[in-house]
């Protein structure tokens, strides 16, 4: 009945965490976790990447972060160019890490798409995610980013 559990969700969040930790040696912390419902909506930031899963579970996992945060990340990686392409590359890379972790977590039977990245506006996520998707707000340095898990069990 329960579609996914906290371990499943954590595997995505941990992926984000380990990406930041390995590239900047700084931890990412969960600051809030809630459901998209009614007035309570998903947090969309400037840049968003997502992967699409299908198999026993299907749906998407999104990572959305403000420009300034990704720019700061690039700075920490000693990347000098910080135009949108580079920034999108970075969020795409994070989505790739999520994808890797998801494959490890759910097994090879799961099909996972290549990451899609895009520049997003204020409530873009709300227009694409299903109600009761999980929104996990994470914090890195002084910035907030969101991991949105919109996955249902299909089997």
């Amino acid at each position: 009945m329960k579609s996914i559990n906290d371990n499943d969700i954590r595997s995505f969040v941990d992926a984000v965490g380990s990406f930041f930790f390995h590239t900047t040696n700084e931890k990412v912390e969960i600051r809030a976790a809630y459901l998209v419902e009614g007035e309570i909506q998903a947090s969309t930031f400037d840049l968003t990447s997502y992967i699409t899963l299908s198999g026993d579970f299907s749906g998407r996992v999104y990572f959305s972060a403000p420009r300034v945060m990704v720019a700061h990340l690039l700075l920490a990686m000693h990347e000098l160019e910080r135009d949108d392409d580079r920034l999108l590359d970075a969020v795409g890379e994070i989505a790739n890490t999520i994808s890797g972790n998801a494959r490890k977590h759910f097994g090879e039977a799961m099909q996972i798409s290549v990451p899609v990245t895009q520049v997003t506006e204020h409530d873009w996520l709300n227009s694409v995610v299903s109600p009761h998707s999980y929104v996990i707000l994470v914090k890195w340095k002084q910035y907030r980013a969101s991991v949105v898990v919109d996955i249902q069990r299909t089997a």
Binding site: A33, S127, H132
Partner: protein, 721 residues
């Protein structure tokens, strides 16, 4: 109270007290008699002694007279003097003693000291003394000239006295002898009497003693027998009961008696007077131990009402760790029951009953597992059917709001542990409230889930490590669990409301404008279960058959859910526009959205597509009209290609637009993504027409879509205008 016990003491010991009084009286009498007799015996001893001396004195008188005669004849001066002196002493002593026997007088005793000689008492003695005097009067007269050492006697006088002495010597001797004998007889009689009195006294004392002993022994024995009987009964009970039984004193020590099964049950040696708490401590968890301590102390105290705290007994079905004789740890379940033992209305002990409930608990657990979820839900449904409906609806509303409150709180970033702890407490309170209300209404599904969640949250709070981000995530998952259960419950309640012909519950407090995977369930259930809804608009039938026809034309299979709440009460011009809008959107959905069965299967989707047409009343005159399909969704890439192909956009223009911007273009006239235009879609006129109609009813259009998941069009408008 005291008087009673005084009386009862007298009654109980009456026999003993009488026996004691009798003993004292009898002994006093015996001692009195004895004392008197002893005194008399002393007197008798003096008399016997002196009468014996008279015997001797009579002989000595005769002998001295004869010696005096010989000394006189032999002219032995020295012998005369000595014998006269001897004679004087002897005669005087005899005379005074005989007088003492006759009258009672002080005389010179056998030891030379004065002694009182009592008058003889018996007739015989008196006669003997009188007889002695008949001889002695003459004898004493004859002896006078010879006394006082005077030498003024003549031979004839001596001759006469000697002759009288010789003649009467034997008679005097006999008389004194007889007197002695008689006195001895009296003394013997008195001794015999004394003996008799002693024997009688002894017999009385002995009987008294025997009686007392018998009475006491009988009482003691009957007491002992009763005691033994009750002890036997106790022992028998304690030996045969399966339960562990023992008394716990106020200082929490074990009593002297306990059932034989107790050591076996507790897996250890038990001795009277042992401290109970350490035994318990070694068996149960520290938390349970702590609670048990509190509970036992409450029972030993006077304040709480026993019957109103038994439900808090922490030692029912409690898992205990026990090491058996092979050294392996056994997990068993025990139940301890505590009952106050009152003496005169105050608590003296607590009676403890221990049961091994392992089998029962395991069975219960198995049953619990065997209870399938559906079964529980059926149960809930049955119970709901019997509940007060207004309360149920209130509960549904409250719970919806509560869950939203939780989610709201969760969505606020928690910067530090204190904030997270605060959040946790806030959420626990809400969940607790849900649990309480669910319990009141007998909604097991939610009550149990709330209970489990609550326990998990308690564990988080009590862990002492603060509340981590991961735990916040866990709470969100728990919340989702609540929503799942809540939604199916809300669906059931709505169904019941319909079935009972009640006013429909408020729309579930989720945003009605948004699709909801559970609300969707709810509504399709509604649709299938209430086909004869009186308010159903004829358009429902129309659009349903239209959709089926279009689907069949395109080789697609669909299931339609159509719920047009309040549609009939809308102004006709509005319904007219809405009909137009829905027809167009349904066409679009069936053409662009829903895939053919093969494609759907290839994408791991159900073969049959789902099409939902809803009209929901949002309150305040606001409505939300929506059409949703679970088809391909709006795929920005395909739109881009289509726009470039149709020449509406150049390659660069198309690339420059974001997906959202591209998506927005579907509302522009002439944009279509259908590969082939047909009557249903593909002309590129659909959505702009829809937009026109939306404008006509002063509505607002929103689209939500997820590639390969769904497309959803919402028209929000107000009928109040």
């Amino acid at each position: 109270m005291d008087k009673n016990s005084g009386q009862s003491i007298f009654a109980r010991y009456r026999k003993i007290i009488l026996a004691v009084i009798l003993f004292v009286v009898a002994d006093s009498v015996v001692i009195g008699i004895n004392f008197y007799n002893t005194y008399k015996a002393d007197e008798s001893a003096v008399s016997i002694n002196l009468s014996g001396r008279q015997r001797m004195l009579s002989q000595r008188m005769t002998k001295v007279l004869l010696l005096l005669q010989r000394s006189t004849e032999a002219q032995d001066e020295e012998g005369i003097v000595r014998n006269l002196k001897e004679l004087d002493l002897t005669v005087n002593l005899f005379n005074t003693t005989l007088k003492g026997f006759r009258d009672g007088d002080m005389v010179t005793g056998g030891d030379g000291k004065p002694a009182f000689l009592t008058q003889v008492e018996t007739e015989i003695s008196r006669q003997l003394v009188a007889d002695a005097y008949t001889i002695w009067d003459r004898y004493f007269d004859l002896l006078q000239p010879l006394l006082k050492n005077s030498r003024h006697y003549n031979a004839a006088q001596l001759e006469e006295a000697v002759a009288y002495a010789q003649n009467n010597n034997l008679e005097v001797l006999r008389l004194m002898n007889d007197l002695t004998t008689d006195l001895e007889v009296v003394a013997n009689k008195r001794a015999n009497m004394l003996r008799m009195v002693l024997i009688v006294g002894f017999v009385i004392a002995f009987m008294n003693f025997t009686y007392t002993v018998i009475v006491s022994i009988r009482d003691l024995m009957s007491g002992d027998r009763k005691l033994a009987e009750s002890r036997n009964e106790n022992v028998e009970i304690l030996a045969t009961v399966h339960e562990g039984l023992f008394l716990l004193s106020k200082d929490k020590k074990l009593g002297t008696q306990f059932s034989e099964s107790l050591p076996r049950m507790l897996h250890r040696e038990i001795k009277p007077g042992m401290d109970f708490m350490p035994i318990l401590q070694s068996m149960v968890s520290p938390e349970i131990y702590e609670s048990a301590m509190d509970y036992i102390e409450l029972l030993l105290g006077e304040r709480v009402k026993e019957s109103l705290v038994t439900s808090l007994n922490p030692l029912t079905n409690v898992p205990v760790n026990m090491v058996d004789k092979f050294g392996t740890v056994q997990n068993r379940y025990l139940s301890f029951f505590f009952n106050r033992a009152l003496v005169d209305g105050t608590i003296s002990h607590v009676l403890v009953t221990v049961q091994d409930v392992t089998d029962k608990v395991l069975l219960m657990q198995q049953l619990e597992q065997a209870k399938s979820k559906t079964k529980i839900e059926i149960e809930a449904l049955l119970r709901l059917a019997g509940s007060d409906f207004a309360s149920l609806q209130q509960f549904i509303d409250n719970t919806g709001q509560s869950l939203s409150q939780i989610n709201e709180k969760l969505s606020q970033p928690q910067e530090d542990e204190r904030a997270r702890l605060h959040t946790l407490n806030y959420i626990m309170r809400i969940i607790h409230g849900i649990k309480g209300e669910a319990a009141v209404l007998g909604i097991d599904v939610l009550e149990n889930y709330a209970h489990e969640s609550e326990q998990e949250l308690v564990a988080m709070r009590e862990s002492g490590h603060g509340v981590s981000g991961d735990q916040i995530l866990r709470i969100a998952v728990l919340l989702e669990g609540f929503y799942e259960r809540y939604s199916s419950l809300a669906a059931i309640v709505t169904r019941l409301a319909d079935a009972l012909g009640m006013k429909k519950a408020e729309p579930p407090p989720m945003d009605g404008a948004k699709d909801d995977k559970y609300a969707e369930n709810t509504n399709s259930v509604l649709q299938t279960l209430t086909p004869a809804e009186p308010a159903q608009h004829p358009f429902v039938g129309h659009i349903t058959s239209l959709a089926q026809r279009i689907a069949a034309d395109h080789g697609k299979q669909i299931e339609i859910s159509c719920q047009l709440e309040g549609f009939s009460s809308l102004p006709p011009d509005v319904t007219q526009e809405l009909q137009g809008i829905s027809i167009q959107l349904v066409r679009n959905a069936l053409t662009h959205g829903i895939e053919i069965p093969e494609e759907r299967v290839a994408h791991n989707k159900p073969k049959i597509g789902a099409l939902c047409i809803w009209c929901k009343y949002l309150g305040n005159g606001d409505y939300d009209f929506s059409v949703r399909d679970d088809g391909r969704g709006i795929v920005p890439e395909r739109l881009r290609n289509s726009l470039v192909k149709s020449g509406r956009l150049s390659m660069t223009e198309a690339a420059a637009l974001s997906d959202t911007e591209i998506a927005k273009l579907i509302f522009q006239p002439g944009v279509s993504s259908a590969a082939v235009a047909d009557k249903d879609a593909g002309h590129g006129v659909g959505l702009d027409a829809v937009m026109e109609k939306v404008k006509a009813i002063h509505g607002r259009m929103r689209v939500r879509s997820s590639p390969s998941m769904f497309t959803e069009f919402h028209v929000q408008f107000s009928a109040a205008r």
